[in-house]
Symmetry: C2
Subunit: 203 residues, 2 copies
Amino acid sequence: MTSARARTGRPRSAEADRAILDATRAALVELGWGKLTMGDVAARAGVAKTTLYRRWAGKNELVVDAVAALFDEHLDLPDLGSLAADIEGVVLRFAALLERPETKTALMAVVAESTRDEALRVRIRRAIVDRQKRLVLLGRERAQARGELPLEEDATAAARNADLIFDVIAGAVVHRALVSGQSVDEEWARGFTALLVGGLSGV
Amino acid sequence: MTSARARTGRPRSAEADRAILDATRAALVELGWGKLTMGDVAARAGVAKTTLYRRWAGKNELVVDAVAALFDEHLDLPDLGSLAADIEGVVLRFAALLERPETKTALMAVVAESTRDEALRVRIRRAIVDRQKRLVLLGRERAQARGELPLEEDATAAARNADLIFDVIAGAVVHRALVSGQSVDEEWARGFTALLVGGLSGV
DNA sequence: CCAGTTACGCTACGACTCGTAGCGAAAGAG
DNA sequence: CTCTTTCGCTACGAGTCGTAGCGTAACTGG
């Protein structure tokens, strides 16, 4: 499967791939999603425009891959000892990524495009969303191991619940950072964690 | 102030305004944000392209106004008798708007653009976000009047807390509907409400 | 009724971006 | 050394952008 395609002929330059993705991120920082053009990225990367189109169908796919690389590098979560500390940790990780200018301008834009492009939506899910989700699931497992959260017996209910928690955490951070346009600092993370753990009625 | 500008000369056609905004929403449904063009909207509305540019600076501002009209019409919240019921109500209102094809494709796109355009961000806030926020504040006041939530003494802390709750509710709905791409139905609304009210540790 | 003022529809325009095609050269596999 | 694929380059038609210029339409104050 891995060697089935392109066993012969000139191989694609891995260096070009790196240069293109780097150039894409740089262009996102300087120009933002709206003014980023394929021709500009090609020029920055020092490759021909046709080379871009041989590897990516268009701007959407290219930008998803360029941003996904950031999520790959910067998303991990050490065990901070308690459920609350882990939630604060994951919130601050998300926020650190969302407040970069590259991701800030690109993420919402590709998600917007994905509402009319199912293939793009799947690509985003695999490249970005699922990576975030794993952190939430990890924190959940740790909390269950500590006895802070009950073990769930029904698998489908557990999955539904995990989806819910993920949407709440990721959604709140995204909304705070991108829609409300305010910074996700430690103070906000503490307040959010207290709300999530204790609820509105909790003290 | 209101009569200070354009007291003389031919007045702008209010009918043209309506036709343009209707055409914009129709174009969003058919084409989506990405393929919507000013020329196409003008043709649909039966006006000249120059007329659009006399009233809106560009695609971003036009679409914000077109979508804002929907939020104006469909955002109110009857008193449902309890905090939990009110939260479910507001969640389902948000969801009903977000699941329309016009708003689905437009909202994230203009928010993405607004990360590089402060004036646009303010316009979105005033036209859309603040209208949503009022519903959350309203539900909060009702809950306090019922005694379900404590009255807060410190005004700045209360405002900060209201911002937090709003980001959590709106963020969760947006994330569920647009990023996870799953429907916000009554079952999800119930689960979300239970989590928000009781917290992770609450039963 | 008449000038003054503003909005309108229409046309045309240069600048830009898109995505593709065609070419000869380069880089590997067998 | 041949076959295959990628590469950089150039060129292209199509489409969009935002603006300018023009004559006409609509409304106001004298």
